[in-house]
Structure formats: C-alpha cells, structure tokens
C-alpha cells in the first residue's frame, strides 16, 4: 500500500502544506486587490498634478501618525465590522441580503427612539435597551424578506433592495416629523434630539474618539466565529448554503434556518446603526449613512464570510477612509479621486472574490486542475 497515505486519520504533511497555501491565497488575494487599487489611485493622483508618493505619505500619516488617528480608524471600522459580520453569516447560508442599509436605518430608528427617552434607568441598562431596540428594528426588516424567500421563494435580492428605499424614507419621515428635534424652531434640521447621556457609549481610550462599540464588535466577531464553526447551528446554516437539497434530506429545517440567519444579519445591521448613533453621532439625522450597508457587502466578500477575515477587512476599509480624508486635506487630492480609490478597492475586491470563488468550484469546472487541498 505504498501509495496510500501512512494513515488516513491524520492529515499528511503534504496535505497540510497544500491547505496552508490555500489559506495563504485567501489572505493574499484581497491584499493584492488593495495594492492594485492603490496603483490605479497613484496614476489618477499623478494626473491631477499631485505627487502620488507625497499623497500616500499623507494617507499613511492619517492612519498611524498618532493614537488619535488610530482611534479614528477603529471608530470608522466599527459599524462596517458589525454589519459585515451579519452579512458574512447570511451569505454562508446562500441568502444574498442586499438590505443591510435599510436594516441599519430601521435599527437606528428604533434604537434612537429608545435612547432619547429619559427612562431613569442605569446607563448600562439604557445602552443595552437601545442596542436591543436596534437589533429588533433591523431584525424585523430582515425577517420580512427572509420569510418571503424561505416560504414563497421570492428573490431576496429584489425585496431587500426595495426595502432599503422604504426604510430610508421611513426614517426621513420620523426625522422630519414625529421625532424631530425642536420642531417649532425656524431652522430646525431633520434630525432627532440628542440621545440621553445615559445611553451614550462610553469613550474607552481618551483622548481618542474610540467608544465601546469597537470592543462590542470584537466580541460579536468571536461569538459569530463560535456559532459558525463550532456550533451545530453553524454547520446546518452552511449546509443550507452549500447544498439546500442535502440539508432538506438531512432533516434540517431549511426554512427556519434561512429566516433566522436573515433576522440575525438584519439585527446586526440594526445594532451597527444604533452603535453609530450612541457612539458617534448622538442623534439620528435624515440620510445619516454614507452607504455603510453597501460597503459592508464588499467587506464580507473580502473577508471570505469568515468573522476574522471580516475584522481584517473592516479595519482595512476604516484605515483607507481615514487615510484618504487626511490625504485630501493635506495633499490637496480632490475628494472625487478619494472616492474613486475606494470604489476601485471594492471593484478589485469583488474581482479577487470571483477568482477565489472559481478556484473553489468543483475541479471539473475548472481548466487547470491544480491540487490545493
């Protein structure tokens, strides 16, 4: 039996090496994407007459010059991380939730509605209740398309996109109407009053802006890792994603699982929205999100739907954003170029995700059948 491995019970060194190369590829591809985007950005920056090396030096300083800047990066990364975790979770089950933006708005709405009340309860409880409100708001907004998909096989991509618009307009209505701050004032902005002091997330690294939302995100990453890769539910959810027919055959309640993952993903987007209000903005404004729910899709893809990968990707996006702002302010790079660089990152991330996806296809559908696992 010389060509059988010595034992089938422990992976051979060669197999482990192949696995390791595979994970290396998973990590390297996104970094390649970022590098490619930076090169494209450099060319664009040069075209505007700015020295790209100078611009990128400012960008780097913006990210790491001081503790303050590092804190900013983490603050920017926080909502992306929390939404991305939920999206990775739902994508693993083969449900394509494009509705994080709407779920974020609905969560922020309910969370803020609780946070602005003077409940006379201790601060930790007020924060917890507000976050719970955020989860419920976002979760309900995920429940609807989840149910429609699971029960009636209605395409979730379409329903979630449509629900995004509805959510944004609902928040508009509340910030212009029932929840408007000081509605009688002449120049009242479409925003709610400030949240109560008791519901604000504490700053945890003064003098930086870093608030308790970031460690909350880290904790959630750990929880989702455990659920997805250590708990039975995660196995079932992933089985539903990779092979619905096999999941049904195995007696899994595929409908219920799809609904649960949609609620969790929507709920986490809602929590992210609430965290953004309680930790940074302190009031809910009309149109307050710059597309966080969409960026988080790219983050989940880049992180390969794995909680720790999503953490890295969120940090990277946070850094790019803070760095780009600095580059704009100090190197005079037009703001549109900064937007283009960010969009290019997303584009290349999507491309690299496609490459990886093709590499994971059954070998028969590939042209080059290299062994990598």
């Amino acid at each position: 039996m010389e060509n059988m491995p010595s034992s089938v019970f422990s992976p051979s060194p060669a197999l482990l090496r192949a696995r390791w190369l595979n994970s290396l590829q998973i990590i390297l591809l996104p970094f390649g994407a970022v590098l490619a985007a930076l090169i494209v950005g450099a060319i664009l920056i040069a075209l505007t007459g700015v020295n790209p090396f100078f611009a990128y030096q400012k960008m780097w300083e913006g990210i790491a010059k001081s503790n303050y800047q590092v804190g900013l990066v983490l603050v920017k990364a926080t909502p992306l991380l929390i939404i991305g975790l939920g999206l990775g979770f739902v994508f693993n089950s083969g449900v394509f939730n494009i509705g994080a933006e709407g779920q974020l708005y609905m969560g922020a709405l309910l969370g803020t509605a609780i946070a602005i009340q003077d409940l006379g309860v201790p601060a930790w409880l007020h924060v917890a209740l507000s976050l719970l409100g955020g989860f419920v708001g976002g979760g309900l907004w995920g429940l609807l398309p989840g149910y429609l998909k699971a029960r009636h096989n209605i395409n979730e991509v379409i329903t979630t996109i449509l629900l995004n618009y509805i959510a944004i307009y609902i928040v508009s209505y509340f910030t212009h109407g029932p929840l408007r701050d000081n509605p009688l004032a002449e120049a009242a902005l479409p925003q709610t009053p400030q949240v109560q002091l008791s519901s604000q997330l504490p700053l945890i690294w003064p003098p930086t802006r870093l608030h308790a939302g970031f460690p909350l995100g880290l904790g959630l990453a750990l929880v989702l890792y455990l659920v997805t890769y250590r708990m039975a539910f995660g196995y079932k959810a992933r089985a539903v994603g990779s092979s619905p027919a096999a999941a049904h055959y195995a007696g899994m309640n595929t409908t219920l699982i799809m609904v649960i993952v949609m609620v969790v993903s929507g709920g986490l987007a809602g929590v992210a929205g609430t965290v953004e209000i309680l930790g940074v903005q302190h009031r809910l404004r009309d149109m307050f999100s710059p597309g966080l729910g969409y960026s988080a899709i790219a983050i989940a893809l880049m992180g390969n739907n794995h909680p720790f990968g999503i953490l890295l990707a969120a940090l990277l996006f946070g850094a790019l954003q803070v760095g780009a702002n600095n580059m704009q302010a100090l190197a005079g790079v037009p703001v549109t170029i900064v937007d283009v660089i960010q969009a290019t990152v997303i584009f290349f991330v999507a491309v690299s995700a496609m490459i990886r996806w093709r590499a994971s296809l059954p070998r028969l559908f590939r042209h080059k059948g290299e062994a990598n696992g």
Partner: protein, 508 residues
C-alpha cells in the same frame, strides 16, 4: 508492424497532496476498439480520463494522439482534437431543454445567433445515423437517466469525437437500457468512433469490450484481450487476490408488518400523478425489491417514505401506527436510514469534510452535540470507525467529500445511513459505482441487517442485484405497482414484462 495506436498515454503521474492517484500509467487505445478501464474504487480511472480530457494536468508523462505528441490545457483542447467525455456524474442543465443543452458552448456560424435550425436538422441526422432518437423540446429534468445520457452522447458527437470516454455510463441503467446503450456503442464503433468504457460490472465489460486495462492503486496492472479474460481473472487483477463473486443469499425470515402504504398517491403540480394508489407492505426482516426502468416513480416513492415529499393521498403506517405527515426528522427518529439516488446533490454536502458528512443527520444529537456545540473529537472518532469499517479511501478525514472518487463518496453515504437504519432502510442503487469487493461487502451487510429484523426497501436498476437480495420484488411502471413476485430467478420473465407495462394478472 502494428499501425500506431490512436491514443497513447505514457508514464502518466498525477498526485493530489501526498496521494498518487496515477503512478506512471501507460495506456493505449487502438483505432476502432472499445477499450474497457477497470479498477477498484479510487484506483485512479476517473483521474486518468480527466487528464486525457484536459481537466487535470499530469505532473509528468506524455500523451500521443494520432501519432503526435499533444498537450491538453483544457477540455477545449481535447474537444479540438476530437476527444469527447461523458462524466461519471452527468453534467447537463436540468432546467434546459435537450436542444438548449446541446447548444450550450457550441460554436455558431451566425454569432451571436444560435444555430437552432441547423442543430435540429443535424439532430435528426444523428438520430437516424447512430440510432439515437430524442425529442429536443423536452426539459432534461423530465427525462429518465438513460435518455439524459443519450443527450450527453449527442452533445459529445456534436462537438465531433473520434474518441469517446464513458465514465461508468451503465451504473444506473436497467438491463434493457443497457442493451440499447450497447447497440448505440456498436453503432458508433461502426462509424469509426473509438471508445473508452469504464464500468464496475464485469459481465458488461466482457460483453462489450475488445481489450481491458486494469488499474490498481494508481498503477497499471496490465492490459488483456477480452477474449482471454474471465470474471475471476479480472477480479484478481483488480484486487490482487481471488475474490468470491456474487452468490445468492438465503431468503425468507419476514416477520410482522413494519411499514405499510395504503393507497398512497403523489400528485405533482404540472406533472400530474407520479405515484398512483400504491399498496405495499414491508415486513421486518424482509428485503423488498422495487424494480422498474429509471424514472417510473422509484425516487418519488423513496422520497415519500422518507418524508422528503409529503404524499397527496392515502395512508402510511409504521408498525400499525399512522404517520400523517412524515418529515425527514421524524422518519430518522423512527429508525430509518435512506440512501438517496442522487449522491452528489442530495446525499452529501460536497465541500464539507468526510467526518462532517458522516454526521450530517446528527448535528443536533448526542453524543455529537453538547449544549449546541459540535464535539469535534467525537465526530472524528466516529469518522475513524466508519472509514475503517467501509474501507473508505481518502487522504484525510478532513478532506472535502467532493474530492473523493465516486465509489468512495457512495461509501460515505452508506456508512452514515446503514448506522441510522435501526428499524428500516430505504436504499436506492446502494451499490451504484462500487467495485466488486465493496459491492459484495455492502450486500453482505444488508443481508446481516435483514437477519437482525430490519426491513429493507431495495430500489435498484440492477435486476441481478434485486434477484440475489430480495425476498419479494414489486415492479413500478409509470408510478403504479403492476405486480409483486417472489425474489427468485423464475420471476425474471414476469418482471421484465411488467417493467414494460404489462400487469401481472395479464401475464399469468
């Protein structure tokens, strides 16, 4: 001097991690022959053919085609050289029609328009020329497997093929379909097509092939003229020692009724009645065979019993107690194991490891689950046991199941389901794709379970298997049971006629 062979593969090596799937294999095909490729599960047959079709690149070795050295980077190269392949698992788009499936990837003279009229005309030609009639407007998912296979062959012929690779084409065909299929093969050979034929059924290989090459654990054992081969010689070449080939099993021993179907019907929207008024009793300690040409309701019957599809009318009883709404969970809890027909899509989650596939139905149950967490150690131990008991050949327990050879995938399903079947087993083509040795041990295992009092519903296209194993055999035709006969050789003529639609009463 012999003329140069059509194909010569020299010293082909292919490794996956530390596993040598092909180890310096020489293989040659002469023009106009049917060359059979034999070997145990995991011997490397599919791998060698995937190399020939450009799907895998060999680590080393050379391929000579029509006397010239060629390098195949992709199936496109193979197709350009007029090499066609039909895979172990058919690769058609179920929701497309026959015509659409043939059109996929076909070059068109009037791009971007599809050559629909030309294709229809050529289809007619092919049908007449090779004896391959088919209705191009039907959706592939409505076709029985035998016809789906015909679509695959037509697809390959459309792309032009001087050499056709057929990986286990007869695994799920009933004997009658096999006859048709062999007639088609002979026809193809007459028209100048050479054929590589992979099968685990030695009698078929002996009947249809001109020469036979045997692989064992990645190495070529030898090539012999079929005239000089016998089943025992081939079996010994494959396994390395003499093997006992199939013999009958003692019959009888049925006790009280275990599972009863009373007037069960299944009505599917748009399709109609797929099962009609099924009355069937399976006793404990009995093997009840279900015969029929594939696509006559066998899979639906299995799915209904196992709770995957709710039945529309009638009643199902387990040990006398009605089960109004069977679900996969309930039936598993009642001690049912189910080996489904579609192992790739239904039976396994291909990107999960062997170990996790072995607990696919038990994620929620002790001892694998504690407080919602999966106990990887226990899962691993369980996998060790099953892998050993069923001789599953793999590089590691953590290997994704999709990377296993076809027969080893089947063994993973068997390993899981036979354990779950503490009262009742529904097995569809349980030995499909298994080599002679594995087939024998699965049959022995089934028989041992029966002796322990388990009731087994054995659905198979293989009449020899049904006759060897079953106490009684029911024949399904268009969703109806046309008769039930004893499981003995004397029943064969009646079974064959019922499979074509005659009722038992009419025959007797």
């Amino acid at each position: 001097m012999m003329p140069a062979p059509l194909l010569e593969m020299r010293q082909i090596v292919k490794t996956f991690g530390s596993l040598r799937a092909n180890d310096r294999v020489d293989f040659e095909v002469r023009s106009g022959e049917i060359h059979a490729l034999l070997g145990e599960n995991g011997a490397g047959k599919t791998t060698l053919m995937n190399i020939l079709y450009g799907l895998y690149q060999p680590d080393s070795g050379e391929i000579f085609w029509k006397g010239e050295k060629i390098v195949l980077h992709s199936p496109r190269d193979a197709i350009r050289h007029r090499i066609g392949m039909i895979h172990q698992h058919l690769m058609l788009v179920p929701n497309f029609t026959v015509l659409e499936n043939i059109l996929v990837g076909l070059p068109s003279p009037q791009e971007p328009l599809l050559p629909i009229q030309e294709t229809l005309a050529r289809l007619k030609d092919f049908a007449a020329q090779y004896g391959l009639p088919i209705d191009p407007t039907l959706k592939v998912k409505q076709l029985p497997l035998g016809l789906q296979q015909r679509v695959e062959i037509l697809k390959a012929l459309f792309r032009g093929a001087d050499l056709l690779i057929l990986d286990e084409p007869t695994a799920v065909l009933s004997p009658l379909e096999v006859e048709d299929f062999f007639a088609v093969l002979r026809n193809l050979v007459d028209k100048g097509v050479s054929i590589i034929f992979i099968s685990h059924k030695l009698d078929e290989v002996l009947r249809i092939s001109d020469r036979i090459t045997v692989l064992r654990q990645g190495k070529r054992v030898g090539t012999i003229e079929t005239r000089q081969a016998t089943q025992p010689i081939l079996a010994e070449m494959m396994v390395g020692r003499a093997v006992a080939l199939d013999h009958g099993f003692p019959k009888g021993g049925a006790a009280q009724p275990l599972l009863e179907l009373k007037g069960v019907s299944l009505i599917r929207p748009k399709v109609g009645r797929v099962l009609k008024d099924i009355n069937l009793t399976l006793h404990s300690g009995e093997i009840l065979g279900i015969a029929g040409i594939d696509g006559n309701g066998q899979e639906e019957l299995a799915d209904v019993i196992c709770g995957l599809i709710p039945y529309s009318e009638g009643q199902m009883l387990l040990e006398g107690r009605p089960i109004p709404n069977p679900t996969p969970r309930k039936m598993k809890a009642a001690g049912l194991g189910y080996v489904p027909a579609d192992r790739q899509r239904v039976g396994l989650v291909k990107n999960f490891s062997i170990a996790h596939n072995l607990v696919l139905k038990s994620f929620d149950d002790p001892p694998f689950n504690r407080h919602g967490f999966l106990r990887e150690k226990v899962v691993h131990l369980n996998a060790q046991q099953v892998v050993e008991a069923f001789d599953i050949r793999a590089a590691a327990l953590s290997q994704p199941v999709g990377e296993l050879s076809g027969g080893n995938q089947q063994k993973v399903i068997l390993g899981r389901e036979l354990k779950l079947a503490t009262r009742l087993l529904v097995a569809v083509h349980p030995t499909r794709g298994l080599d002679v040795g594995a087939t024998e041990s699965v049959r022995q295992f089934l028989h041992a379970q029966k002796e322990k009092g388990i009731g087994i519903l054995l659905i198979s296209a293989d009449l020899d298997e049904l006759l060897a194993m079953s106490d009684r055999i029911a024949v399904l035709f268009r969703g109806e049971i046309l008769g039930i006969v004893p499981g003995e050789a004397a029943s064969l003529p009646a079974i064959s006629r019922m499979m074509l639609g005659e009722r038992l009463e009419a025959i007797a």
